[in-house]
């Protein structure tokens, strides 16, 4: 390699080509393997789907004919408009509610903040289907409060909007809280010193300070609602949305080509939202100076009381959604026999997968949490701490960011196209629990990857340099230093993966087999078959499991931090 390099024009000496150490070789190889995994399980399936969308049923290339057909079929095209409308309305509602709720939690002296924080996160523990089921019991034809709708049907845009707003609320809230937490108290002191009115301060300091957070939350909510499948499936009635169209085209009509076309349409706003969000996130970073003083709210009776009332109403609504699902799950025969019992939990006598589905979900979620965390954290480590190989690391990062832009339904459908092909060497995965684990890991890869990267970035970048000088192999430092120091982040990632694996429907709906039905899918199937009460019961099983996991996570993290207090506190 000494003579191959051409000399630089200004320097007659050869360019020094670094000899790679054994560690460099191992690290690069591992990173390439994980990168290839991402390429094989995200890029290639998506490519296969793209090519399906320009083929006819006999797999002959027909250009954009499918797309032309799609856009000239009013029934199909209408769904896009419906999805857009619902997503926009839900985004508007959720943003306002989340902002006020988040404001109350961060900028007021409202009592019981901890309680409201916990309640607001409940929807994260349940599949999106649960909200829909609850709404059926509240406002459905035999609902307890259907009079409140004044003759309007809950099955349709109203139900979808309420159900969607319910389950995306915590996603928006978390972003808003983060945005509202990073502020500089001195800005407010300056505003007071300049005798600025509270209203003016709000519009000139508070809002501009968190505008990137709000924009980001807006895009997240929009994308989630736009691409969600669970809520419209349960409560959508005859109101067609893009996500349900994909399902109908593929499962109902076996029209895979048109399913691929609708998926591509579904992908467009998701990709746009993703791109804008990335740009906005970059700007957010620059906003926070290291010397900012944290804001401490002062008591204000009127404000604090009105916020308490507002938050109580929202919290009550959330509890009503969960509570009704629980009540319905226990009621023997709605609405005729309101006695309570556990007959609806006897899943084995219903269609939909029975208790096996629940256990499958547990296994699948555990595998996803364990394998996913290991792969994602190790990949992030290799990317963040590896030496040289800049191009490879950039490509790896892009691959890791990609899943965030791909709706679960689209990913799931693309997996069918890719893995159901007998010529595919991974074909053996089709119909196994393995493919469910893989699709869940890839679907939720990005957020986990970013969490890991953030934790890794907080570590001294010279640990690796010191280790190399001490001739310690990288894996020794990885296991003895990096992993222990990053354990809280590792736990966060595994919890995130576990909760999502328990509750997800969209990515796995096309990929389960009769042996690998999952709890969330059982909810949908039982609901489909009219067994709404057992569906509610199963949804509640998921909720208990997630709540249990969440409590375990809190205890583990707490115990760990206590145990490692000696070295963690600076």
């Amino acid at each position: 390699m000494t003579d191959a390099m051409p000399p630089a024009p200004t320097n007659p000496q050869p360019i020094v080509k670094e000899k790679l150490s054994r560690d460099d070789w191992i690290m690069r190889t591992c990173m390439i393997i994980i990168g290839l995994f991402l390429a094989a399980f995200i890029l290639l399936p998506l490519y296969t789907m793209l090519s399906k969308s320009v083929e006819n049923k006999d797999e002959v290339f027909i250009g954009l004919a499918n797309y032309i057909e799609y856009f000239s079929t009013p029934a199909l095209f209408l769904s896009a408009g419906n999805s857009l409308t619902i997503a926009l309305i839900s985004t508007f509602i959720v943003l306002i509610v989340a902002f006020v709720y988040g404001y109350a939690l961060t900028r007021t002296c409202m009592p019981f903040k901890w309680f409201f924080k916990i309640i607001a996160l409940i929807p994260l523990l349940t599949p999106s289907l649960l909200g829909g089921i609850s709404l059926v019991y509240w406002f459905g034809n035999q609902g307890v409060a259907n009079g409140l709708l004044f003759g309007e049907s809950i099955y349709g845009p109203i139900g979808i909007t309420i159900g969607s707003s319910y389950w995306v609320f915590p996603h928006a809230l978390m972003i808003v809280i983060t945005a509202l937490s990073i502020t500089d108290a001195r800005l407010y002191e300056a505003a007071i010193a300049l005798r600025t009115s509270q209203i003016r301060t709000f519009f000139t300091v508070t809002l501009p300070g968190c505008k990137y957070g709000l924009i980001s939350a807006g895009f997240v909510v929009f994308t989630l609602v736009f691409t969600d499948f669970g809520v419209p499936k349960v409560i959508g009635g005859n109101y067609n949305m893009l996500a349900t169209d994909v399902y109908k085209q593929v499962i109902g009509q076996q029209n895979f080509q048109m399913g691929a076309v609708v998926s591509m349409v579904l992908l467009v706003p998701a990709v746009i939202a993703f791109t804008v969000d990335r740009i906005v996130q970059k700007k957010q970073v620059a906003l926070l100076s290291a010397r900012a003083v944290p804001y401490e709210p002062k008591p204000d009776a009127v404000r604090d009381t009105s916020m308490l009332i507002f938050c109580s109403i929202i919290a009550a609504l959330i509890i009503c959604m969960l509570g009704m699902a629980q009540y319905a799950a226990l009621v023997k025969f709605w609405p005729y026999n309101l006695e309570l019992g556990f007959s609806n939990y006897d899943f084995d006598v219903m269609d939909g997968g029975g208790w096996d589905a629940f256990w499958n979900s547990i296994y699948m979620s555990l595998y996803t949490a364990v394998i996913g965390t290991a792969v994602i954290f190790f990949g992030a480590y290799l990317m963040e701490k590896g030496r040289g190989f800049g191009a490879g690391r950039t490509i790896f990062h892009m691959l890791a960011m990609l899943p965030l832009a791909v709706p679960g339904l689209v990913l799931g459908l693309s997996y069918i196209f890719f893995f159901n092909n007998p010529a595919n060497p991974f074909n053996f995965l089709y119909g196994t629990l393995g493919i469910l684990v893989i699709v869940t890991i890839t679907h939720f890869y990005t957020v986990s990857h970013l969490t890991a990267i953030t934790a890794l970035k907080q570590m001294d970048p010279e640990f690796e340099s010191v280790s190399a000088s001490l001739k310690a192999p990288f894996y020794k430092t990885f296991f003895r230093v990096t992993v222990p120091v990053c354990t809280p982040a590792v736990l966060d990632v595994s919890m995130y993966l576990f909760l999502n694996a328990m509750t997800t429907v969209s990515a796995v709906i096309f990929l389960y087999s009769s042996d690998t039905t999952l709890a969330s899918i059982a909810v949908m199937n039982m609901d489909d078959a009219g067994d709404i009460a057992p569906a509610a019961a199963m949804a509640m099983m998921i909720a208990y499991t997630c709540a249990g996991a969440r409590i375990l996570h809190v205890l583990l993290t707490h115990g760990l931090l206590k145990h490692s207090q000696a070295w963690r506190n600076r």
């Binding site: 000496q13 360019i15 000899k19 790679l20 340099s465 000088s469 001739k471 192999p473 000696a566 070295w567």
Partner: protein
């Protein structure tokens, strides 16, 4: 000219260049460092000193050029295949490992028996003066203690070369002063060839056997602290290290310069008659004692302001010789008291020829 020159070079750097894209961080640098020597890379931020250190360590390999350590070409080797110990400004101690484990970290990779490792760890902790701290975690130690542990860890494997990357910058002044002496003492006792990067001239002057002054990716001067301070090669070095007065002037004839309305003698080698030059002299070399009429290199000055510095006064002098600028001079407290010098006092001062440096005028 240097006591270490009779030894063989331990580290040989030849024509080292480092480019970051369009930016040249190191520009064709050559340098030899001798065994047991303590060398400081000194310069302002962005001068390339850390880049040079990282190239020597293999952490950021140079674009061109050769580095030889102990006769072996290590130019392209990764850090793990080089022989050095390193201490960073951030200490980079592993936070979840005790002090003992941190120090033992490099020893464990040598597959030594456990009791031998323990003995070596104890020896090192004694060496850095922290014998009882082994079971603590780094976060439980003060900054100065952490830095000494980092030093012990770097020295544990007895590397041939010790690299210190601004090791004292994160510490407060008092601790820094003490550690300065301790590190230097330890280095002398162990005889380990050491390179330290610093932007602190005082650190370099007190600790180094030789100082390598760098600016804009180039080595400007290499020399003992006395040489670098006493005979700075360029106006940059003169200005960067210590305090220096610069007065514009012209070479009148060889050995004489005219400055303002005065002329005085100094070494003008390297400058032609009529050249615009800058005359430089340090404040402590301007003296006001024992001046008789007719002495050479004596000019009239007036004290514009006087700053009490504790052991001496720093005077701001103006006068026809000094042109528009002010000139700083250090007067002993004794002198100020004896001569009752105050603001507005006029007195003759001497600029001894042996302390006057002449540089080409930077404007030309």
């Amino acid at each position: 000219m240097d006591a270490t020159m009779d030894q063989k070079p331990y580290l040989k750097i030849e024509n080292l260049t480092k480019n970051f894209g369009e930016f040249t961080a190191l520009n064709d640098i050559s340098l030899e460092i001798y065994e047991r020597e303590f060398v400081c890379f000194l310069g302002p931020s962005g001068c390339g000193k850390t880049t040079l250190l990282r190239a020597i360590a293999g952490l950021d390999i140079q674009t061109h050029g050769v580095i030889e350590q102990d006769g072996n070409d290590i130019s392209a080797l990764p850090p793990s295949e080089r022989d050095f110990g390193i201490v960073f400004q951030s200490y980079a101690l592993f936070p979840n490992l005790t002090v003992d484990k941190n120090v033992a970290y490099g020893l464990e990779n040598r597959k030594l028996p456990k009791d031998q490792i323990n003995a070596r760890v104890k020896e090192l902790l004694d060496l850095v003066g922290l014998p009882e701290q082994g079971i603590k975690y780094p976060a439980q130690l003060s900054g100065g203690q952490q830095q000494r542990i980092a030093l012990a860890r770097a020295l544990a494997t007895s590397p041939g070369l010790l690299l210190l990357d601004e090791p004292l910058s994160a510490l407060d002044a008092r601790v820094r002063d003490r550690l300065r002496g301790e590190i230097k003492d330890l280095q002398r006792r162990l005889g380990v060839t050491t390179i330290m990067v610093t932007h602190d001239q005082e650190e370099a002057l007190t600790m180094a056997d030789r100082i390598v002054v760098m600016d804009h990716g180039l080595i400007v001067q290499v020399g003992t602290p006395q040489e670098v301070y006493g005979q700075p090669k360029t106006a940059f070095v003169a200005d960067f290290i210590g305090t220096m007065n610069f007065i514009p002037g012209i070479v009148r004839d060889p050995g004489t310069v005219s400055v303002g309305q005065s002329t005085f003698a100094c070494d003008t080698a390297g400058h032609a008659q009529g050249d615009a030059i800058t005359v430089a002299i340090r404040p402590e070399n301007i003296n006001a004692q024992d001046i008789s009429d007719g002495d050479a290199n004596v000019v009239d000055a007036e004290i514009k302001s006087l700053e009490f510095m504790g052991s001496f006064y720093r005077a701001n002098l103006v006068g026809p010789t000094f042109g528009d600028g002010d000139v700083l001079a250090d007067f002993s407290a004794n002198l100020v008291r004896r001569k009752s010098v105050g603001i507005g006092s006029k007195l003759p001062v001497r600029l001894p020829a042996e302390f006057v440096q002449v540089y080409a005028s930077s404007g030309s």
